[in-house]
Every structure is written in C-alpha cells, then in structure tokens.
Symmetry: C2
Subunit: 384 residues, 2 copies
C-alpha cells in the first residue's frame, strides 16, 4: 500500500499565498453551520443518552428513512430498511472491495477514475481493467466488446454524475445501454453518486439505480452509494448505500467488524438538521455558489489557456479536467505552477494502470471567483 | 463472514421488562452530556468551517496531543505525532488485521478474547491460536513454551486491563515476563486498553506499552490502542493508537482508504470537551457509579448463585465472567433466563476455536443497582 499521492501533495498546497485547485473540498461558506449547530443543540438537549451511546450497525432508522426519501427524490424507490449508513462513501468502497475482491479478480473502472476507490481496493489486490470515456461518459460499447470477448469481472465501478476527476456525466442513452449489458452478462454495477444533486446547467439524468428499479421493480444489478459530505458537511462522515437485499446484508456484516457503526452523534445531527427539509432550501444555495465558480473557471480558461490545451465542460460537481498537448508533462507543469503559487492535481494517479501524464484535475468549488481568475491566469502562464 | 452472535442476540434483549447483562454498553447516566453540549456549541460557534470540513487522515493535531497527554498519564511517553486517531478502537483492530494478516497466518489470542477482534480479523483468514488465562491473566509460560517449540506468529493480541469478556487483569509480573518473551522472539504485541482508567479497587498496573518504552526508550514491541468510548461517549467513535513509527506510518496509509479520516466534528468535540481537564473530574464519577454496580453484582452473585458456579472478581472495567458446572450449557441457561426476563451473553463466541459452553459474560455497567439485584436473582433461579 502507498500513501495517496493527492494527500501528500496537498501538504505542499497549504503554503501561504497558494491558490489551490488541488483539493476535493466543498466550500466551507456552503456549510449550513447555523442549522447544524441548532440541530446539535436539540439532539443533545433531548436525546443525549441515545446520541452519545453505541448504536445499531446499519444506522439510526430515522436517518435511514430520510435517506430513502432522498433516494426516492432521485427516482430510486427504496425503503429505509434498504439503506445502510456508512462512515462516508469511502467506507462503502472499502466494504465492497472486501466483500467482492479476491486477489487477481478483475474490477472494471473508468479511465480515469476516482483515486479513493483505487486506494480502497489496492489491499485486496484486484486486477483493474480500465474502460475508455468520452464526453458522454463511459464508452459502453467498449465494455460490451470486452465482455463479449470473454472478460469476466467481479463488478464495474462508475461515477455517472460529474465524475471525479473529469466532471463528465454519462448520457441517459449510455446508462440504458449499460443496464442492458449488465443484464446480459450478470455484471454487478457499483454506482457512486456523491455529486448528483449539484447540477448547475442541463437536465437531471436518472441514476443507474433508478433505471434498474424501473426495469426490475427492485435493485438487481446496481449498488448505489451517496453521501451527505457535499450536501451538508464532510466532517460528519455520513454516507449511505442501497442495493440488492443479499448485498446489504453482507455489507452490514462487514461494516460491523470495521467500526461497529457510524458515529451516532453525527447521524443524529444529520437527521435532525435535514428532517424539516433543510436540503431543499440549502442545495440551491450550493448550486448558486458552485455554479458561478464553475462558470468563472470556464471563462478564465477560455480567456487565457494556450492553444492545444483542452478541458471538459462539467454541468455540475466540483471538478473539471484539463488535457495538455501530448508531449507536455503535467508533473513538470505542477512544479512550475507551485512556483507561481497555484496548485492542481496531476492526472496520473487517477489512471488505474498508469498513463495520463498530460492531464490535470482542477477543483472549482473551494476557491472564490477572484482566486479562480488569478489562479487560472497563473496556471496558464506556467503552462505557456 | 457471519453476523456477530452478540448483536443478533442483543435484539432479543431489547424486549420490554428485560434486565440485560448482555450488552457492552457504558451507562448513559455517565455521559458528560452537558460538557459535550457546551464543547459542541463552542466548536460550531468558533471553528465550524474547520470542524465540518474534511480533515487530515491521522486526526486533528490538538486532539492527538491531548491523547499523548493521556498516554503520558498512563506511563506511555509519546508525542502527539506518535498518536493516530481512529474511528473507535474497532477500526484500529481492522487496520492492523489488514496490515498484518495474510491468509493462514497465526495470530495469538487469549482464551477467551474480545469477540470484536475475532470478527474484525475473520475476513483476513488468520489461524487463531488460543493461549490459556488464569486469575493473573494470560499464562505467559504457555506462550513461551509454544514459541520455544517453533510456533511462528504474526502478533499477540491482549487486553491486559479488565479484559473483555472476563474482567481479569494481567499481573505486573506477567507483563514483564511477556515483554521478555516478546523481545526474545521478536513477537509484536497488540495491547488493547479501553478500560484501563476504570479501576475501582486495587492498584494501577502499567500498560505493556509503558514497560516497553521504559526498556527501549521508544515503543518497540507494543502497538497500543485506546478510546474515548468509555471515558466520554462511544457515539463519538473516537479512538487512538500509538506504536513503533514504521507501524504508525502504515496504519495511516491503510486508514486513508477506509474512511479518509475519523469524523472531524467528533474529534473537535472530544478535544474541546477534554482540553480543560474534564476527564480528571469525570473519570472519578464513572468509577464511583460502576464501582458500586460491580460490588452490587458481586454481592448478589455471592448471595444467590447455586453451588458449583464460579465467577471472576474484576478490579475494574465493565464485565465479569461466570463459569457454570462442566455439564451445564450456558446456551440452555440463556433460553431459561430470557423466559425470566434477564439476559447475558453465552461465552462460546469469545472462544476463537470453540469451547466455553459452560461460560457466560455479565455486564454490570449498564444496569442500576436494583436491576443488578433483581437480574442476578432471576439468573440464579434460571441456573438452579
């Protein structure tokens, strides 16, 4: 196991005066701190004995029911008993790796893909097979071809909405095609959806889990992960998972050995804060702030990037993805950028099997519009 | 992987009118709810942006330093940079299993031992070799003999203070002897100490970690785990670990893949609540309450248990251990006890390789003195 390149790198980016597009952080200005403080006060005044005690491994039932309501709002019709609370989505990634991956097993991932998933699974020694993406997300035809040629995989991992790291979303047509392929080959899909609610332009596309339920009246092929980290606050470490019943039972068993249960106080706070519809009021606030920042970054890139640099046009989320000319190394650009006091993440760690030396991930949620403009100008100068 | 026998069983014990000695719960009367509420209010008023944000994998440095002070108070002289925060001690057990155990590796455990450790490690497929205990804890001579005969083990897991499940403590002489053996054979020791501060009678015995440091000026053989769960509140899910530097580095790397970091808000609350010496004032309160309950249970057992039933005399912690006559099954007693509205945990799940059919674990921290008296009388009747 190796320490995450990103977290090592983040240490560099904490220098005074640095503008950082490197982290994956929500903006603290968008934390509903007042509502969380109020909720916490109420929880500790009315049910401290329960909120501070050990709790059930699957999570507090009122919170599970609240998550089910959120899921239903996304078209995923499940009940609270089909939702398990996890210590962030990261824990769900670890649990599923532990359950599903024996050494040498093939796991299918997008190229590039979320680094934290690769890191969670590395100890289980999977054989990661990468699948190409384009502006419509995962190229499902390429997946179908691999499976038709006899490739056997334990599961496919996808981030269909505003993917980390690229910001790209999978089109509705691709999602339907992907479910066809999953049904044909009995391929389990792990759908990670931390950013789905953070759409700033374009129309909502139903998650794979919603399409799976529409076809089978229950989750058959899709295990779906989400989290409060980007809607409420990541410091609570409260995520959730739903999926086929047999899978949830197994996840619960594994989770018990990991941490007994997710923090009871955090769960109680999340529930109390959200029970009166806070998210309906708060998500539009986040969308407005991040949507502006996204536009500022896109405009600044268009205004200043040298010819030959391309970037994605995310409709939501927190990241966009820059591709430099083939012969330009983003690791070299990184050193020059740091000297100019601007940071990003070179793209290579997001490639399960290497590559992407000319790519970089830019975060737009954590910097102010002024920082975004100044930072992009510095970055353009470093690249030039 | 199988669901924990205990947690399945706890569902039965939630019936109306049940007196339960089954759980491993601290008493909610002993949570410093007021201090926690005050700390939380302050954290969210002064540093919400940080307390609700993602945080560093090793934990918040002020809390790590506070844990180092607690450790120094126990004779374990380490700095904050040698402490990692975990999501309860349970997470440290999982991490260490993941780091150390390849399928078939021998892990040495006490017989009986903490069920949660067995459960955390089962997915890594260790060969658990059990070592006998007596009233002075682990029989170190038996360990030495096994090692002299060529047994190779990845590590030894011990709970030297008021062990879960037996309540027995390892004597000072045994601890010294154990460190001799560890040095002779290069055997790593995993010392789990959730209850060390909860002593109600007798004198403090230094943890193995303290003896290890006294010998080598640094932690060489011992990885030491502890937690706020029994001192503050388990619902926060904040534990900590210290050990040799190379080990801590590895633990940090693994933990990152598990949940990125332990909940920032929980950590900030634990720090803010404890920074002014709350534990110095609060631990005596817990000791007074649990100490009385321990005595009530011991007196009630002495007054009512049929001949042939033996039990341990713990000097601290939350549990004691009952041994029935050889031909009496505690599983059968369990059914009769439930019918009498009293619950306990049959001892078998604490045996890594089976056995202990005539044993039972009794928790005395979570019931009131009246419940303890009534419950023991019912239990005695069920056994009789």
């Amino acid at each position: 196991m190796v320490s995450s390149a990103i977290r090592e790198l983040l240490k560099v980016t904490e220098q005074e005066g640095m503008i950082s597009f490197a982290g994956g952080l929500p903006s603290p200005d968008c934390f509903p701190a007042g509502a969380i403080a109020e909720a916490t006060e109420k929880v500790l005044a009315t049910s401290a004995g329960k909120a501070l005690q050990y709790g059930p491994t699957p999570g507090l039932m009122p919170l599970r029911e609240l998550c089910a309501e959120l899921l239903i709002g996304r078209g995923v019709r499940v009940g609270g008993d089909q939702v398990l609370i996890t210590s962030g989505s990261q824990q769900a990634l670890d649990v599923i790796g532990k359950l599903m991956i024996d050494p040498g097993d093939t796991v299918l991932v997008e190229e590039p893909t979320y680094l934290g998933a690769l890191q969670a699974w590395r100890p289980y020694r999977p054989n990661c097979v990468t699948l190409p993406m384009d502006d419509d997300g995962l190229v499902v035809e390429a997946l179908a071809e691999r499976l038709a040629n006899g490739l056997h995989a334990k599961f496919l991992y996808v981030v269909p909405n505003f993917q980390n790291p690229t910001g790209v979303s999978m089109s509705a047509a691709r999602r339907e095609a992907l479910l066809d392929v999953a049904a044909q080959y009995g391929l389990p899909i792990l759908e990670d959806d931390p950013y789905g609610e953070l759409r700033y332009t374009g129309s909502t596309i139903p998650p794979l889990a919603a399409l799976d339920i529409a076809r089978h009246s229950q989750l058959r092929h899709v295990v779906y992960l989400s989290t409060f980290s980007k809607l409420l606050a990541p410091g609570l470490r409260v995520g959730w998972v739903t999926g086929p019943a047999w899978m949830l039972k197994r996840i619960e068993q594994v989770k018990e050995g990991l941490d007994l249960h997710t923090g009871t106080l955090s769960q109680a706070i999340a529930y109390e804060a959200c029970r009166d519809g806070l998210l309906d009021r708060h998500i539009p606030v986040i969308r407005a702030v991040y949507g502006e920042r996204r536009q500022v970054m896109l405009d600044a890139l268009a205004a200043s990037m040298p010819t030959g640099v391309r970037w994605t046009q995310p409709e939501g989320g927190m990241f966009l993805w820059c591709t430099l000319p083939d012969d330009v190394s983003s690791a070299e650009v990184f050193d020059r950028a740091i000297a100019q006091h601007v940071a990003f993440v070179p793209g290579t760690p997001f490639y399960a099997n290497g590559g992407g030396d000319n790519t970089m991930r830019l975060n737009f949620s954590h910097s102010t519009p002024d920082q975004l403009r100044t930072g992009v100008a510095r970055l353009a100068a470093a690249i030039a």
